[in-house]
Amino acid sequence: MTPVLDVRAITKRFGGINAVDGVSFEVHKGEILGLIGPNGSGKSTLFNCILGQLQPTSGEVRVDGTPITGMRPSDLNRLGIGRTFQLLQVFPQLSVRENLILAGQEHQGSMARRLFGPRDAGLTASADRMIDFFRLAHVASHKAGELSYGQQKLLDAAMAFMAGPRLVLLDEPAGGVNPTMLVDLRERLRAINASDAATFVVIEHNMEFVMSLCTRILVLAEGRIIAQGPPEEVRNDPGVIAAYLGK
């Protein structure tokens, strides 16, 4: 079976430093792959190379067998690849509902149709479904900038799922989220994964969160993969412990 995401020997060089150094891995349909590693190990750079924010120095990325290396972020998103960023990225002056409608609108029809065609086309309804699903109904009409950090984080994730993507790359979804909301977030992610067979790659520092959510873990250190496997196996790997704690 063709993997949903196929990363082949991606290298990204900044000056003399190999931020990502020949990383290859595959992610299959319905998997939740965790990407962990110490700070500066190249996780976010790898995401940015996959998603068109950065051009990899060498290597190739395929989604469902189609090469996507070097494509622009907006085109990748319209191919069904969603993402969240490490730092919170919502549109503070737009309402929660408007944020979600925006996240869906570019996936329908042409640019001209968005101006001259019907204004709504079911977007408000699907935004409201997303709002209910992420339990944001009580703040749906508030400006996103007025929400608590945790709520904005939920909105940020909800926006990535608005267009029903086949693959979503989440960069530290749990960062700065309180423990109660964290359980909530994990349940939401699991539910979407189960119902839509959506495939996730998750960068996370919160070990408990990542170990309990992911089906497989990839460990990155200094731009290279140093371990991969099921959560229990990776947790006890001496190389991983050394990378995190130093020798």
């Binding site: 907006s74 998103n77 960023f85 737009l94 408007e98 409608i101 925006l102 996240a103 570019e106 968005r114």
Partner: protein, 324 residues
């Protein structure tokens, strides 16, 4: 909500009644307000909604004005200029958008400033087309639906009607998915792109549409003043339009109308201070921008919110009193 419609009705009544109470110069100033509002609405789309700074809006007013002046003094009717002027500005604005794909903020300001200077130089130096510093005189006012617009009052109503049409068009854009995409572009272009927003095309569109509205303002400006030379379209006008958008409230729909009102009419009202009138205007603008960066509409919103809070506070206090 109701209050808003009351305000709108009062404003509409005032705009219709005003020319009957004013002398010729007053009617001329109100017409100028209508024309500048159109250009400011365009800049508000580019800058206020889409977040792309431009110091070239005055140049587009110039392009529109010269299109109208050249065409109508050669015997073409004004409606032709109403099509060609904005169309030319749309195309040139689209091209001016390309630098915005590479540079932002003050760098973009400098690119547009250079463009503004370029247009001024073309208007001044290409005498075969624009008659250079001698300008174009005898620009006729149109007949609309058989009515002659020669007199100030009918021409004012023509300007007002055009402004209304432009306002409705701008409202239609702002409330469309494009308006939403423009705001996303302003607030976070990287995130917008990651959600499928084609930031390149929307940036170019924001420039093109905003510039086309500048062109419409120009097409009205030429028959209003009936004589044009390059000097009114120098950098000063672009800066003035920028001031209108900022002082009125950048990114607020009504901001440019209020801003144009302040910029066109306030200096006139301050004339009683004689030698001090430009100075007091300058001080007013500095204080406004320093203390209310959201502009006059922003101040209005703040006051309205304070009232709403006080009313809500009073209501809960009353409930508490009853409960006790």
């Amino acid at each position: 909500m109701k209050l808003r419609w009351v305000f709108a009705a009062i404003a509409a009544a005032a705009l219709i009644a005003a020319p009957f109470a004013l002398k010729t110069y007053g009617v001329y100033l109100l017409s100028m307000w209508a024309v500048m509002s159109i250009a400011a609405v365009g800049l508000n789309l580019t800058l206020g909604y889409a977040g792309q700074i431009s110091l070239a809006q005055g140049a587009f007013v110039g392009i529109g004005a010269y299109t109208a002046a050249i065409l109508t003094t050669h015997g073409w009717p004004l409606p032709v200029a109403f099509v060609l002027g904005p169309l030319l500005c749309f195309v040139v604005g689209w091209l001016l958008g390309y630098p915005a794909l590479r540079v932002q903020h003050h760098y973009l300001a400098f690119v547009t400033l250079a463009f503004s200077t370029l247009v001024f130089l073309i208007l001044r130096n290409e005498e075969w087309l624009t008659r250079g510093i001698y300008g174009i005189s005898g620009i006729p006012r149109p007949n609309v639906l058989g009515f002659a617009m020669k007199d100030p009052r009918p021409f004012y109503f023509f300007c007002l009607a055009t402004t209304l049409v432009v306002a409705l068009f701008a409202w239609w854009i702002v409330r469309s998915p494009w308006g939403r995409a423009f705001m996303a572009l302003r607030e976070n272009p990287v995130r917008a792109a990651s959600l499928g927003v084609d930031t390149r095309r929307y940036t170019l569109m924001a420039f093109a549409i905003g510039s086309a509205l500048g062109g419409i303002a120009g097409v009205l400006y030429a028959p209003l003043v009936q004589f044009i030379d390059p000097s009114p379209f120098a950098l000063g006008l672009s800066l003035n339009l920028l001031l209108m958008v900022i002082a009125g409230g950048s990114g607020y729909f009504l901001g440019p109308f209020v801003g144009a009102f302040v910029s066109v009419l306030l200096p006139e009202w301050l004339r009683f201070t004689e030698g001090l009138y430009l100075m007091s205007y300058a001080v007013f603008v500095m204080v406004l921008v320093a203390f209310c960066p959201t502009g006059l509409i922003g101040v209005g919103e703040r006051i309205a919110a304070a009232f709403a809070r006080r009313r809500a506070g009073a209501a809960t206090a009353a409930q508490d009193a009853v409960a006790r």
